[in-house]
């Protein structure tokens, strides 16, 4: 250390000296450089998970603020705050403090609404992220662990959302709590015992809000935080997947480094997510508990629903037929048990086990770092769309009374539409998706074989009209392309292969001059191929296996470990040095 401190190139600036002092103590320069150098793929869909992460950050920040004012107590008080229509009404302290938080705390309503919107966004972005992972096959070996963690996070997010929804003890959430109580009661054998354990007695008691509170603010957030940490650590360790493309192999990641490009974009996204939540929180009213009124077991409102992420379970409950199962000895299994506990149990188990199921079915046990296009795996894609159709029918059924009311459809008809749709729509979705996948596949192959349709019609000497096709690569004596499909998008328009100008930008109207585009295009000689002739494409997609771009490019010859010489990292013993 002494050597660096006095060595040439020792920092002279204040910041540099401070950094040196820090590194002397913590030895972080190496790990920090490795982190800053981590390469992130450029594709937009890799940012979906980050939206979920940033929503969670918002939830932690706003949630902490809310705890300063919220009191999770079910003791009855008479309201005497600034909201006149409830003045003099008996309510729990939890509800009263939510009202105070909304009306008597400066900016409290904004934070409360941001918190609720961020919660809705959190679950929504988890699901969108998960769909991306599923449809591209990013859950395959070696990433099953992270898939399992993801499913666990989703379930925890649902439970977290549900406990948070219950907090204000208003008439809407209280009705939800009543249903939760009934669901717990419906568990065979231990139902009543479980209910007594959770609620501390019969419904509603005076403990449940306090218990849910600690679960909501400490227990589940801590678990979620821990799981997110593991999720990200595994991601860093395994590195990102990527879509197939020029220069992209199973053994590398192509993109930009964390610092500064990706860090800039990620911070930008963080801010935009904050912005969207703040906009929703300020401009769109969410869960106006003052309109709902305090909870009273004798009161209810038409169209009582849970938040959207639990709505699919409400939907399944609405659709499930009235089937109590009576067992000998006068025991019975209530109808409520199946759609609220068994169904989600099956759904989440299937979701969690999907990587293993697929591995069993396909026999594909290899490690995969290159993603698949959904069309190339028609069975998985169709299964996914089928599950999605099932889910969407349940979700819509969760709001079927509102749909019935707003669109003048009979409520009973909505129930039957849901029941029938739940059974027939998923297979239809499967078949249609499968056909679409095959069609897209075929078109890719066709373009590779015959080239891009140029739209140029030529008349041959003997009178035949043909359309001129632009081959994508070398052709054989029949004019058929020799390129094999490599899992990457196949260009299907002339401007995608530089044969025409790229499209003029502009959403509704052009925002640039066609001439400028031409000019820009003329000077454009970029891309991997232009800098590295070795890496020229041999197919439309991935280059030949083993074409590791950095081979031979290392500064130290002779197989020196790349991670600073620690044997555990490099894995090869160091050569004797002189």
């Amino acid at each position: 250390m002494a050597r660096t401190a006095t060595a040439p190139g020792a920092p002279k600036t204040l910041a540099g000296r401070a950094a040196l002092e820090v590194d002397d103590r913590l030895i972080v320069a190496g790990p920090l450089r490795r982190t800053l150098n981590k390469v992130f793929p450029d594709h937009w869909s890799f940012l979906l998970g980050e939206i979920a992460l940033y929503s969670f950050v918002i939830l932690l920040l706003t949630g902490t603020y809310l705890t300063f004012f919220f009191q999770a107590s079910m003791t009855e008080v008479t309201y005497d705050g600034s909201y006149a229509p409830l003045r003099g009404v008996d309510m729990s302290i939890a509800y009263a403090s939510t009202l105070d938080l909304s009306f008597d705390v400066r900016g409290g309503l904004l934070i409360r609404q941001i918190h609720h919107w961020a919660a809705l966004l959190f679950v929504a972005s988890i699901i969108v992220h998960m769909l991306r992972i599923f449809f591209t096959g990013a859950f395959r070996r070696p990433r099953e662990t992270n898939w399992l963690i993801g499913v666990a996070l989703l379930v925890l997010a649902l439970v977290e959302g549900m406990t948070g929804y219950t907090m204000p003890d208003d008439l809407l959430s209280g009705t939800g709590l009543r249903i939760i109580s009934a669901i717990i009661l419906s568990i065979p054998v231990i139902g009543t015992w479980a209910h007594w354990a959770v609620f501390g007695g019969d419904f509603v008691g005076d403990l449940i809000i306090g218990r849910f509170y600690i679960v909501h603010v400490l227990l589940i957030p801590a678990i979620i935080l821990g799981l997110i940490a593991v999720h990200l650590l595994i991601l860093v360790k395994q590195k990102h997947t990527q879509f197939p493309g020029p220069g992209r192999t199973e053994h590398n990641v192509v993109g930009s480094r964390l610092f500064p490009t990706f860090a800039g974009k990620a911070t930008g996204l963080l801010l935009v997510v904050f912005g969207v939540c703040a906009a929703l929180g300020g401009l769109v009213q969410i869960n106006p508990v003052w309109l709902w009124g305090p909870y009273n077991p004798a009161q209810v409102s038409a169209a009582s629903q849970p938040d959207w992420y639990v709505m699919f379970l409400d939907g399944s409950t609405r659709l499930f037929p009235a089937w109590d199962i009576y067992l000998p000895g006068n025991y019975n299994i209530p109808a409520l048990f199946w759609p609220t506990l068994v169904l989600p149990g099956i759904l989440f188990t299937l979701l969690a086990l999907y990587p293993f199921i697929e591995r069993k079915l396909t026999g594909d046990t290899a490690s995969h770092h290159l993603l698949q296009r959904p069309r190339d795996v028609p069975v998985r894609t169709s299964l996914g769309v089928m599950a999605l159709a099932f889910y969407v029918v349940l979700l819509l059924s969760g709001g079927n009374d509102v749909i019935a009311d707003k669109f003048d459809i009979s409520l009973n008809a909505m129930t039957w539409i849901g029941r029938i749709g739940l059974i027939i729509l998923p297979p239809i979705a499967y078949v249609i998706t499968y056909r679409i996948c095959l069609g897209l596949q075929q078109h890719d192959r066709e373009v590779l074989e015959h080239g891009i349709e140029t739209g140029v019609i030529r008349r041959l000497p003997h009178g035949e009209f043909i359309e001129v096709h632009q081959p994508l690569g070398p052709v054989d004596e029949h004019g058929h392309g020799a390129l094999a499909y490599g899992g990457a998008p196949v260009p299907k328009k002339m401007n995608q292969v530089g044969g025409a100008r790229r499209a003029i930008r502009g959403f509704f109207s052009p925002i640039e001059e066609p001439a400028a585009v031409q000019l820009e295009q003329a000077g454009e000689e970029r891309g991997l191929a232009s800098t590295d002739p070795q890496r020229e494409l041999t197919s439309s997609g991935r280059p030949a296996e083993g074409g590791r771009p950095s081979e031979g490019g290392r500064p130290s010859e002779g197989g020196r470990p790349s991670e600073g010489g620690r044997p555990s990292e490099g894995g090869r013993p160091q050569e004797p040095r002189d």
Partner: protein, 292 residues
Amino acid sequence: MSTTNPQSDTQLDEGARRSRWSRRPAEGTPAAAARARRRSKQRRRLANVAGLMAGLVLTGALYSTLAPGAQAAPEGSESSAEAAGRELYERSCISCHGENLEGVPNRGPSLIGVGEASVYFQVHTGRMPLVRQQAQGPDKPAIFSDEEIDQLMAYVQANGGGPVLPSGDLRDGDLAAGGELFRLNCSSCHNFVGEGGALSSGKYAPSLEDSNDLEIYAAMLSGPENMPVFGDNQLTPEDKRAIINYVQTITDMPDPGGAGIGRIGPVSEGLVIWVVGVAALLFGIFWMGSKA
């Protein structure tokens, strides 16, 4: 309109327009009296404006002399309003409700005992006359003028009897108590904030947003269609006024938290998070991921 507001006259006009009071009824009819009472309530709120007190007293006097006269017309000697009402009845209602209000099987119920409250509600909200037989008469712009409605009311009241329309300030009740009563008795069908909701097999509880005080009162009193009846011994007139006060306060109340998105809770919130929130962010990351 429940606030002490110097602009209450404009508000009154708005309320009048919203409730489709297209033209002023002739003085002396019950609807006009009700309208006058509504106005008088508005004015009473401006208690310190002494000049208006005279109008109030005048209106009160006008009411007390005319209103009982309209209702207490002795049998046999039909008043002119009743005669006009009979004419209207025979033109528009008789085919379903029968010659003597007794109803026609499978077409229309008997109107004996429904009272002027029911007539006011059904005709003023445009539910009657029905365009065709259906599960539930939808509300639409009233076909009859207020004067004609008054005549119909007089006719049905004189020949069938039943609940009569209330008098006085229909919002003269405790706001919070009205809220409790509303949540206990009304919100199960009409939703927390009077948005309405679906009932079985295509029927629905209508939204209370555009209803005026008298319509709500008349509905509680008469129990139109599938709505249960809330007689005066069940919900006292004070209770009904408290409920009306709550409903109208809530419906007129602005949303302090931003756009109300229908005030129907999680369904519209879920729609917004997907259509606005997730869509905006997807657009954002798509733009971020695209090359400069």
